[in-house]
C-alpha cells in the first residue's frame, strides 16, 4: 500500500512538474515564464520531500530546502529584476508558433516515453512512472531554448531543462550525495550569473535582447 501510494504520488508530482513546463510554451510575457518556473520549482521541491520521506533519506530534506531557496526565491527574483530593467519583454514571435510548439511538445513527450520504455521495463523502482515525464521535461526545456528568441526566455528554458535533469536524477537514484547536489546548485547559480552578464552585454550592444540580432555580427 505504502509503495503504491509512493509511486502514485511521484508520478503525480512529475506530471504536475511537466504540466508547468508545457504551459510555459503557451505563455508570452516574461513574467508568466518566471511565474511558471517558480511554481514548477516549488512542486519539484515538494517532490524532493516526498521522495526523502518514502525513501528514508533525510538528506533530501536539506536538498529540498536549498533547492527551494535557490529556484523559488533567488533565481525568479533576479529574472524579475532583469525584466524590469528591460521593460515588459514579450515573446511575440518565436521561431516556431505557439500552436505548433504545443503539438511538438506533445510529440517530444511521446518520444521520451518511447526512449525510456526499455529503462522503465527493467526498473523495479516505485518511481519509474515518472522517468519518462522527467525525460520529456528535459526535451521541452531544450525546445524552449532553441525556439524562443529573447535571451531571457532562453534562460528560463535552460533552467526548466535543469529542473528536468534534477527530477530525473532524484527519481532514478533517490538522491545523489548531498555534496554533489550542492555542487550542481552552485553550477546553476554560476551559469545563471554568467548568462545574466551576457544578456546585459547583448542589451548594451543591440538595445534589444533578441538573440536574432546576433546574426548581424557575421557581416
Amino acid at each position: 500500500m505504502n509503495d503504491s501510494l509512493f509511486s502514485q504520488l511521484s508520478t503525480l508530482g512529475s506530471s504536475v512538474v511537466l504540466l508547468f513546463g508545457i504551459t510555459l510554451l503557451w505563455r508570452r510575457s516574461l513574467r508568466a515564464y518566471t511565474g511558471a518556473f517558480q511554481w514548477q520549482s516549488a512542486v519539484l521541491a515538494a517532490m524532493f520531500v516526498i521522495i526523502g520521506y518514502f525513501g528514508h533519506d533525510p538528506e533530501l530534506y536539506f536538498v529540498a530546502v536549498f533547492f527551494g531557496i535557490l529556484k523559488v526565491f533567488i533565481l525568479p527574483r533576479y529574472l524579475e529584476r532583469m525584466e524590469k530593467r528591460f521593460g515588459g519583454q514579450r515573446e511575440s514571435q518565436p521561431y516556431v508558433n505557439v500552436a505548433t510548439s504545443l503539438i511538438l511538445a506533445g510529440l517530444l513527450v511521446l518520444l521520451a516515453y518511447a526512449i525510456t520504455r526499455p529503462l522503465v521495463l527493467v526498473s523495479a523502482l516505485p518511481t519509474r512512472g515518472g522517468l519518462p515525464l522527467a525525460m520529456g521535461l528535459i526535451f521541452v526545456g531544450l525546445f524552449v531554448v532553441i525556439t524562443r528568441k529573447k535571451a531571457l526566455t532562453q534562460i528560463v528554458g535552460f533552467l526548466v531543462m535543469e529542473n528536468g535533469i534534477a527530477l530525473l536524477a532524484v527519481l532514478g537514484t533517490f538522491g545523489i550525495p548531498l555534496i554533489v547536489e550542492l555542487g550542481v546548485f552552485l553550477d546553476v547559480l554560476m551559469g545563471f550569473l554568467v548568462m545574466q552578464v551576457f544578456v546585459y552585454h547583448i542589451h548594451g550592444t543591440f538595445e534589444s535582447i533578441d538573440v536574432d540580432q546576433l546574426n548581424e555580427l557575421k557581416h
Partner: protein, 313 residues
C-alpha cells in the same frame, strides 16, 4: 419501471438545476466584483418571461431558423439521460456511450451555427464561423480526454468508467486523470462560452461568439436556446465532477443513497461554479486568434493523458 423513473428524474433534475447553477455563477461573480448581484434564482424568472413573450422573426428566416432551437434543446436534453448525474451505472448506458454524448453535443452546436447563418445577418455569420472554429478543436479534445479515462476502465461507457474509478480509488490521482481533468476543464470553459474564450455577460461586443449566433432570436425560441446553453454548462460540470470525483453517486438504488447523490451533486456543481466564477474574475478575454492556441494546449494535455494511461496501465 424504476429504471425509467430514475432516468426521467435525472433529466428533470438537470433541467431544474441548470438555471440555478448559472444564476449562482453570476451571483458569485457579482460578489467578487463588489456588486450586490441579482439573486441566483433570477434565471427562472428570465425563462418564464421569455416563454411569455411573442416571437419576432426576420422575413428571410427559413424553417431551419424555427427548428434549430428545438433541436439544440432536445440534443442537450438527450445527453442528460446518458451522463451519470446521480446514479451509476445508468439503465440507459447501453443506449449510448461517450461517443454518443460527444456527438449529441456537437449536433446542437452544428444546428445553432446553421441557425446563426440562416437570417443572413453579419453578426450571425461571424458567430457561426467562430463557433465552428472553437468546436472543431474542442470536440476531439473532449473525446480524447474521456478516452484517457476509458482506457483505464476498459470501456467507453460512462457508467462503467465511474464504477471502475469507484472500485479502484487510487487511479483518481494518476497522471492520466489529472491531465485529462485539466484538458476537460479548459474545453468546458470554451464550449460553454465562459470567459477566456467568450464573454457570457455581454450582448453587443465585436468578439462575442455564442451571443452573436442567437442575436436574432426572441421569445420562446430564445428561452429554449438559453436553457439549452445552461443545460450544457450543467452537463459539462457534472462530467467534470462525476467522472473524476465519482464519490457520492448512488450505485444501489435506495432512497437514502439517491438523496445523498443529489446533495453531493449540488455541492460539486456549486464548488465548480465557484472555481469558474473565480477564474472568470481573474482572467481577461483572450484575443480571438489566441483561442485556438489555448485549445491546442488542452488538446496536447488530453493527448498526454491518453498516452500516460495507455503506457502506465
Amino acid at each position: 419501471m424504476t429504471h425509467y423513473i430514475l432516468e426521467i428524474a435525472q433529466a428533470l433534475l438537470a433541467l431544474l438545476l441548470a438555471p440555478l447553477l448559472v444564476g449562482f455563477v453570476r451571483w458569485v461573480k457579482a460578489r467578487l466584483q463588489n456588486r450586490r448581484g441579482a439573486p441566483p434564482w433570477l434565471p427562472y424568472f428570465e425563462l418564464a418571461k421569455l416563454f411569455g413573450k411573442e416571437v419576432v422573426m426576420s422575413n428571410n428566416a427559413s424553417w431551419l431558423f424555427r427548428f434549430a432551437p428545438t433541436i439544440v434543446f432536445a440534443s442537450a436534453l438527450a445527453v442528460t439521460f446518458l451522463v451519470p448525474l446521480i446514479a451509476a451505472p445508468l439503465p440507459f448506458d447501453n443506449v449510448g456511450d461517450l461517443l454518443v454524448v460527444v456527438y449529441l453535443l456537437l449536433l446542437g452546436t452544428f444546428f445553432l451555427a446553421l441557425a446563426g447563418l440562416d437570417p443572413g445577418t453579419a453578426f450571425g455569420g461571424m458567430g457561426a464561423s467562430r463557433e465552428m472554429t472553437v468546436a472543431a478543436i474542442a470536440e476531439p479534445t473532449i473525446a480524447l480526454a474521456i478516452f484517457g479515462l476509458a482506457l483505464g476502465a476498459g470501456s467507453t461507457n460512462l457508467g462503467r468508467i465511474v464504477t471502475a474509478t469507484l472500485a479502484n480509488p487510487g487511479v483518481a490521482i494518476s497522471p492520466g486523470h489529472l491531465l485529462a481533468f485539466a484538458a476537460l476543464f479548459i474545453v468546458t470553459l470554451a464550449e460553454t462560452g465562459r470567459l477566456p474564450v467568450d464573454n457570457p455577460s455581454t450582448h453587443l461586443e465585436l468578439t462575442m461568439i455564442h451571443e452573436a449566433m442567437i442575436l436574432e432570436y426572441s421569445g420562446r425560441y430564445l428561452a429554449l436556446i438559453e436553457w439549452a446553453a445552461w443545460l450544457k454548462l450543467t452537463i459539462f460540470f457534472s462530467l467534470l465532477a462525476n467522472l473524476f470525483v465519482p464519490w457520492g453517486l448512488a450505485t444501489v438504488l435506495t432512497p437514502a443513497t439517491l438523496a445523498i447523490a443529489v446533495v453531493t451533486l449540488i455541492i460539486k456543481l456549486a464548488v465548480l461554479g465557484l472555481v469558474v466564477a473565480v477564474v472568470e474574475t481573474r482572467v481577461a478575454k483572450l484575443r480571438l486568434f489566441r483561442v485556438p492556441e489555448l485549445l491546442g494546449l488542452s488538446f496536447v494535455l488530453a493527448l498526454l493523458a491518453v498516452t500516460s494511461s495507455f503506457l502506465l496501465r
